[in-house]
Symmetry: C2
Subunit: 143 residues, 2 copies
């Protein structure tokens, strides 16, 4: 039987967000690990799929990831032949990350797992509540 948390914490959005995000992260991580992937990989693959070959800096800016972490994870994806890295002819500083066919298949594989995790997480909410939650989070993010 779970003991109720202190009222102060229950009224503190940052605490609630931390708790729920931890639970959501756990679910997503477990699902990703089931197919041998990490959460970062999903974000990178999504970015490369939607915005085409793009630099690591752009991936980091779009997915709110540190440059270091992008470099590491892209390296992992490259070793799995999910993406290829090649120098940008227009600017040799940049390395363009391109999705391969294997990467596209991998993306859909991970996406299916992620979808299960989301459904599991959001199960207690009805459709209206889910939409409201997502909208509120997007609003908080968009600054």
């Amino acid at each position: 039987m779970p003991l109720p948390p202190p009222q102060r914490l229950l009224a503190t959005p940052s605490w609630l967000l931390t708790q729920v995000a931890a639970a959501a992260g756990r679910r997503s991580r477990e699902r990703c690990e089931a197919v041998g992937a990490a959460r970062y990989h999903y974000a990178i693959l999504c970015a490369v799929e939607e915005f085409g070959p793009c630099s690591q800096a752009e991936i980091g800016a779009r997915c709110h990831m540190d440059r270091k972490d992008v470099a590491e994870r892209v390296g992992e994806l490259e070793r799995q032949h999910c993406v290829v890295r090649c120098q940008d002819p227009a600017d040799p500083r940049r390395k363009l990350v391109t999705l391969t066919d294997a990467g596209r298949a991998r993306l859909e594989e991970i996406a299916a797992e992620i979808a299960v995790a989301q459904a599991d997480l959001m199960e207690p909410l009805d459709d209206g509540e889910r939409d409201a939650l997502v909208a509120a989070l997007q609003k908080l993010l968009g600054r």
Copy 2:
């Protein structure tokens, strides 16, 4: 100018939660550090204030913290004379954590900082949206 994230991520609650929780955590942490405290300290002080002298195990269960972390943080609070730890006469295994006057003052000090962080975080939302967000998060947590 912030580049927009991939649509897939924007539609993924767990990703949104992680991002917003990270931003919220950053704000709260900065505010807590301004008065030389950690976020864990606030949770512990809240629990002890609301539920009276209680065991470390109970604090952990209520605040969703690992026993190890509770022990460490309570030790820090004790060194700052914010709480006292004494053996439970009814069960020598338990250590009852009790709030001191200094601890109560410290709690209010930290609470004021936390409140600023919350107001800052939730600024883009109107009252209705805030209530809906908090209610949805509580619902997701309550399982």
